[in-house]
């Protein structure tokens, strides 16, 4: 995508969204491939939750854990910082992507780093770290197989859990053959994975810096928890001499015992696994006498708009997210258009409610309308984020008249005096029985005058036409 090289702050994902979405839905091959992938993930998740009572009670527990920890967030961040520091992990704070990049690149420069291997981290995508590293002359190499594939293709992840879900094995085979020296075309998946393994093993061995995300940061013990299947996360956090972890400020739990329910909800909701292959709990750099592990461990805590969401009781629920991706797997819109069309780091339903805080409503207002509010996302969310309600709220923030002290950056960005006037007129008619009777009566009399073309509606539908008699007329006729 051409947008991928522009800077976050200048790119407005809502611009051109309809065109991008339109291109995908017009492509039967992509449509079928997304649908197949999402069907597969939905079935896998369903198989993990055979008992509806257990699912509901576990989701309630997950919601309660997240809300409890968010309520204590400032205190927990300080507790986390104190315990990490005690454990020898250096803590850094960043309000913006620029600050986060500067901190990470500063650490790299201190170690004269040339090569950074990266475990999967959506926050590093959010700050466009690869871009910043490249500009600073540091090779930032993705090591999660999906991320590696996407990076090799100069693309961005289209799904937060399955980054290369938009690609077929044939496309990947071609990509490997064309870009990795000495590799012949093969579309055997095992062979392709072994090729990736070989290339990346050399990089793990040689890397100066390992970068990772964080799934849960435990305040009481000062522990960073990472969830993964491949082992690349462990490689990045163990093999290089320096490990830098980056996370949003919301991913904190007070107690270690809060982790098992969230972890179970995460893997079962995300990929339908009862558990991931690895759960990596890091509580410090290499200690004297230990023979491996990084000499230095850093944690970068990123705000980037999260404190804005935090400030509003309803919007705060956005921060409950544990990034499982179930909402996108179950979203009929995501299944039609895939992740790239959104143009945001986080696509799908969660992307639509988190991105406005990261990028402002100016850049994202249009995305909030890309939902039929069917509720499938809220129904599967493992921590019960009321995504449809939040979408309605964001529409309100976006379309209302700009206010003096807005709750959100870009409030009123989608405001149109004409549209607002139409809704006001609508409300005047529908709040007045006499006006409604008059207008609906006229509608039934003049039904033959309705236009043949009715905007987006008649694209694939016959025009809407009022019935010749309203229900109230039929009831009167009957008496």
């Amino acid at each position: 995508m051409s947008q991928s090289h522009e800077h976050t702050l200048h790119f407005r994902p809502a611009d051109g969204f309809r065109e991008r979405a339109g291109e995908v839905v017009a492509n039967p091959f992509l449509r079928q491939s997304f649908r197949g992938a999402m069907d597969f993930l939905m079935q896998k998740r369903a198989a993990q939750f055979p008992n509806p009572e257990e699912l509901e009670s576990l989701r309630s527990l997950g919601e309660q854990i997240r809300q409890y920890n968010l309520a204590k967030l400032p205190t927990l961040l300080e507790q986390l910082e104190a315990n990490l520091t005690r454990n020898g992990i250096q803590v850094h704070w960043a309000e913006t992507p620029e600050e986060a990049n500067a901190i990470i690149l500063g650490i790299c420069h201190k170690h004269s780093a040339k090569l950074m291997v990266k475990g999967k981290s959506m926050v590093s995508e959010e700050i466009e770290l690869n871009h910043a590293a490249e500009a600073a002359g540091i090779e930032a190499l993705e090591s999660d197989m999906g991320e590696y594939i996407v990076q090799l293709a100069h693309e961005k992840p289209s799904h937060i859990i399955m980054p290369a879900i938009h690609k077929t094995k044939e496309q990947i085979a071609k990509l490997f053959a064309e870009n990795i020296p000495g590799v012949a075309y093969t579309d055997n998946v095992d062979a392709l994975i072994q090729i990736g393994r070989q290339v990346l093993r050399e990089k793990f061995e040689a890397a100066d810096i390992g970068l990772s995300g964080v799934n849960f940061a435990v305040a009481e013990t000062g522990t960073l928890c990472l969830v993964e299947n491949e082992g690349n996360g462990r490689m990045c956090t163990t093999a290089p001499p320096v490990h830098i972890a980056i996370t949003g400020i919301e991913k904190i739990v007070e107690k270690l015992e809060h982790v098992p329910p969230l972890y179970s909800l995460l893997t079962r909701s995300a990929t339908g696994q009862n558990i991931s292959t690895y759960f990596n709990m890091i509580s410090g750099p290499r200690k004297p006498g230990e023979k491996d592990g990084p000499q230095e461990v850093h944690l970068v805590l990123l705000d980037n708009g999260r404190s804005q969401a935090y400030a509003d009781e309803q919007l705060r629920k956005t921060l409950q997210c544990i990034r499982c991706g179930a909402c996108m797997n179950h979203c009929p819109v995501y299944a039609r258009i895939g992740g790239h069309a959104y143009g945001t780091t986080y696509p799908g339903p969660i992307g639509k409610i988190i991105s406005p805080h990261l990028l402002g409503l100016e850049a994202t207002a249009g995305l909030t309308t890309a939902s039929s509010l069917c509720g499938a996302c809220g129904e599967v969310c493992p921590v019960k984020i009321p995504i449809p309600e939040l979408l309605i709220r964001l529409r309100e923030e976006s379309f209302s008249e700009p206010q003096a002290n807005p709750v959100m950056r870009g409030q009123g960005a989608g405001h149109s005096p004409l549209i607002s006037a139409i809704w006001r007129a609508w409300a005047t008619v529908y709040a007045s029985p006499a006006l409604y009777r008059g207008v609906s009566w006229l509608g039934s009399r003049l039904r033959w005058l309705v236009p043949r073309r009715q905007g987006g509606w008649t694209r694939v539908r016959t025009p809407l036409q009022p019935a010749p008699k309203r229900l109230r007329d039929l009831l009167q006729d009957r008496n």
Partner: protein
């Protein structure tokens, strides 16, 4: 989720209010009349407050809460007696039941009124099964139908089983099973107009799934979905030069009425 009233213990009401919804009033009046006829045939007096207009949902989901509140406030006053309010639409019933109390959160008097109203709002198929324990006697010949349940009925009202239960009680009716049954048809109110590309893709897939079952018709308890599904099916028929509808459909009330010996008010809506 709603707590189903137990048919055995709940007293059978003598009177109910009927909130038709603006879509039924203006676009599917026969569905409304058939629903009223069904209820009356069960010995219930159905009251249709003349002043009713719309639940306010279109404005609410579009992000115009003030406008929605203005319209909703007007409906709040229309149901003074403590009778059930029956709505032939899961989505409008969901609006009143679940969103009115939130909509009036800042207005204690109206909030209390919204909560009282919320407690006695029923979606039609829910009312028929859970309150009336309606057992339809099928007088029709063999036929296969496919049921589309709206997302609001399914996820907001939690009444996705009641429509099926009613159809299952018709001995000569076979219920076909579509793929991706629980998936949205792509209507979503203003979504269909604001995101026509995505909405079109969704309704295309929905109509394909429904047709693939070979069912003779689609029935639904939500006219918004029917407007979308039948509108696309009819458009497709026009595009492909068919004179007879390839997927006729109607509101479940009309279907139930005809199957049980009643005289439905109109032709089924092939649009």
């Amino acid at each position: 989720m709603t707590t189903p009233a137990s048919p055995a213990t709940a007293p059978r009401p003598r009177d109910v209010y009927f909130f038709a919804t603006c879509v039924v009033d203006q676009f599917f009046p026969h569905a409304g009349l058939d629903a009223i006829t069904l209820l009356e045939r069960e010995g219930i007096r159905v009251h249709f407050p003349e002043e009713q207009t719309c639940c306010g949902q279109p404005a609410y989901t579009s992000g115009f809460a003030d406008e929605a509140r203005k319209v909703a406030a007007h409906q709040l006053a229309l149901f003074p007696e403590d009778w059930p309010v029956v709505v032939p639409s899961g989505s409008c019933a969901g609006m009143i039941k679940h969103h009115y109390p939130t909509l009036f959160a800042a207005d204690p008097v109206r909030k209390a009124a919204a909560e009282r109203l919320s407690a006695r709002v029923y979606e039609l198929t829910q009312f028929l099964t859970e309150v009336l324990d309606f057992k339809p006697q099928d007088c029709g010949s063999n036929c296969t139908v496919v049921l589309h349940t709206s997302c609001s009925a399914r996820r907001e009202m939690g009444v996705h089983l009641t429509g099926k239960q009613l159809l299952a009680g018709l001995k000569n009716v076979h219920i076909a099973q579509q793929d991706h049954e629980s998936e949205c048809c792509g209507f979503g109110g203003t979504f269909a107009v604001k995101q026509p590309e995505i909405s079109s893709a969704m309704v295309e897939d929905k109509v394909k799934s429904l047709k693939a079952t070979g069912a003779e018709r689609v029935v639904s308890a939500d006219c918004g979905c029917l407007m979308n599904i039948l509108g696309h099916a009819a458009w497709k028929d026009q595009q492909e030069g068919r004179k007879t509808p390839s997927l006729p459909g109607e509101h479940i009330a009309s279907f139930l009425l005809r199957r049980t010996g009643g005289k439905a008010a109109g032709q089924e809506n092939g649009q």
